[in-house]
Amino acid sequence: MSLKDCHNFSDFRKLAKKKLPSPIFHYIDGAADDEITYKRNTTAFDAVDLVPNVLKGVENIDLSTNIFGKKIDLPLYCAPTALQRLFHYDGERAVGKAAQKFNTFFGVSALSTVSVEEISSLIDTPKMFQFYFHKDRGLNDAVMERAKAAKFDVMALTVDTITGGNRERDLRTGFTSPPKLTLSSLFSFAMKPMWGINYLTKGKFELPHLQDYVSEGTSTAVSIGNYFSNMLDQSMNWKDAEKLCSQWGGHFALKGVMSVEDAKRAVDIGCSGIMVSNHGGRQLDGSRSPFDQLAEIVDAVGDKIDVICEGGIQRGTHVLKALSIGAKACSGGRLYLYALAAAGQEGVERALNLYRAEIERGMKLMGCTKISDLNRDNLRFRSK
């Protein structure tokens, strides 16, 4: 199996599985507890049907949309995800350059393995920085200043990782950052020698935004669950979020909002957007899926801030359904991470190209020539 055999999400997943040592594959692939929420994030889309219109003259399709004051060419972007150099030695460099080619947002995690300065020198398309509120306030200030100096367009504060989710696959595989060789994981690393050689020879593994302040994650191996539980400030509240919002002074978003009440408060503290997300099913299992919850939130705040639907997206038609309900755009992590692991920048480009083609084809078959043509009249909810 090679990249040219990858036609959809599950093909990329299969290829990533072949290339990655198993603790790393399962870190991407896994979720919390019984992974009920993780599965529902995608199956939620199947409960809603599209009703197309015909004979609309659809030779030209405009997929562009505006979010956070930026025009992007595709209503789907790469959500910020951590530790990308574990998945492919080019890490965020590969994803950033691919996102630039499609002129869509590139999200960079606080736990990224390439610095904001380098990313900023590599790409000039819209960039979002994802922020974790650490106990160490000096770290928080420094990270925010660096993102500002590097001309990031959006600051997204993640609010659903106040403690680590119970990622049982990581407990079983012994996944840590940086990866630690144990007796039980030795075999899986030995089985993927190319990954090991690249990891050890293509530059030291670093967390450039954090390592001046904390050793965990770079020189001390920890699980991501433990990192969240021990390093992030569990006392974080709406006042802190409001302060960060004004400290940033630009487009600010809350990532991981699920209730209408919280969405309204996000408006009150001056956010320009929210990501309706359950962290890809990796935090609270049993949490509602973003798509199931989307209409409720759009009805309450959709005219005031940008609502992004994040999680479970594996098809162009999933994007069309979310936009029909009123999301301004969609984002996802696994949808490009498997492709990154499969083939670096080329892989991510192929994945984005497939999603773009699917969205465009879906728009034509729906009889829609621009994003604003999508609305709830063209949806039917199958079961009440």
């Binding site: 199947d46 219109n53 004979l55 609309k56 098809r315 084809r361 034509k364 039917r380 199958r382």
Partner: protein
């Protein structure tokens, strides 16, 4: 396993699978993307239950109905599908003869492999020609003229293929028309020598209706997807459809209508019928199932235009359920194509006989003497 063992859709599918090289089987069997819509098309019927009436003297059942200007013996007809000669070396000749014998409408496609003129000779019963609007408008005019001369009784314009669906099985099997031998598909052709010998020893495969205009799909290896994307006109709009209605000036159906709004427009431009269809789940995955959408459309336009349900029909009871919600008739594609592959003309006759017998038996069990007695009092939604 042979034709005698084929009692239902699944049996015909199984026999077709044994007879066809795998790229061809999967071209019929597959849908788009994750095949959610393909599966839902049939599953949708399960969410509704039939309520029979008893003691209604059902010794004589009249299953006939009038649709697209023609009286047919039972309320089901094969939808127009492309390239029958890929499935059986007798192609549309076999299906046209079988359908005439069974007294229902025969549909043939723009992408048929036997010409309009020859079909006109073979089948003297009701015939519908399925039209795709090509970028070359001369071709559209030419096809309509030829259908008139050949005695076709209705025209059907397909409107849900402005761009090809994402049929991932075809990508994996490398399906093209005409079939191309590749290293990957060689084994599956070699394992089906009878199909391969018949295909190669009978007349050359051609898209008989359009061969004089375009060579695509006839002399060079092209996937259907490439053909649709290169030749069909994505700019097609309601004016173009109205042009075809006027030019044809007879019973006219729009195939692939899913919204009430579009069904109303179909009335405005003078259509006789809308065929509620998502192209057998082969185009927009995530699109609503025809049966799920049927009531909404019938309720608004059912008294002004004939509503035909296409997609997911595998049982007589499926037809009864659709008719109870107000459809005039149903059509189906995959079932009779598997039957064609399984046994040529005999296969198509057998599946139509089976379906007709099921409809007959189920009408009796429902206590209905004629189609008109099927109505919304006979069906209830489980949800």
């Amino acid at each position: 396993m042979n034709l005698n063992d084929c009692h239902n859709f699944e049996d015909f599918r199984e026999l077709a699978k044994r007879k066809l090289p795998s790229p061809i089987f999967h071209y019929i069997d597959g849908g788009s993307d994750d095949e959610i819509t393909l599966n839902r098309n049939t599953d949708a019927f399960k969410d509704y239950d039939l309520i029979p009436n008893v003691l209604n003297d059902v010794s004589k059942i009249d299953m006939s109905t009038t649709v697209l200007g023609e009286k047919i013996d039972f309320p089901l007809f094969p939808s127009a599908t492309a390239m029958h000669r890929l499935y059986h070396h007798h192609g549309e000749r076999a299906s046209a003869r079988a359908v005439e014998k069974m007294g229902t409408i025969f549909g043939t496609s723009t992408m048929g492999t036997v010409s309009i003129e020859e079909i006109g000779q073979i089948n003297k019963g009701p015939k519908s020609f399925q039209l795709y609007i090509h970028k070359d408008r001369g071709l559209t005019d030419n096809l309509i003229e030829r259908c008139k001369k050949a005695g076709f009784t209705s025209l059907c314009l397909t409107v849900d293929t402005v761009v090809a669906g994402n049929r991932e099985r075809d990508r994996r099997t490398g399906f093209t028309t005409p079939p191309k031998l590749t290293l990957g598909s060689f084994l599956s052709f070699a394992l089906h020598p009878v199909w391969t010998i018949n295909h190669l020893t009978h007349e050359k495969f051609k898209l008989a209706n359009i061969i004089h205009i375009t060579e695509k799909g006839s002399s060079i290896d092209k996937s259907v997807i490439d053909y649709i994307n290169e030749q069909f006109d994505p700019a097609m709009n309601w004016d173009d459809a109205e042009y075809c209605v006027k030019k044809w000036n007879g019973p006219f159906a729009l195939k692939g209508v899913m919204s009430v709004e579009d069904a109303k427009k179909a009335i405005d431009i003078g259509c006789t019928a809308v065929i509620v269809s998502n192209h057998g789940g082969r185009q927009l995955d995530g699109s609503r199932a025809p049966f799920d959408q049927l009531a909404e459309i019938v309720d608004v336009v059912g008294d002004k235009i004939e509503v035909i349900l296409d997609g997911g029909v595998r049982r007589g009871t499926h037809v009864l359920k659709a008719l109870s919600l107000g459809a005039k008739a149903c059509s189906f594609g995959k079932g009779y194509l598997f039957a064609l592959a399984a046994g040529g003309q005999k296969g198509v006759e057998k599946i139509l006989e089976n379906m007709k017998a099921e409809i007959n038996r189920d009408m009796k069990l429902m206590g209905c003497k004629n189609i008109g007695e099927l109505n919304s009092s006979k069906i209830v939604s489980r949800k």
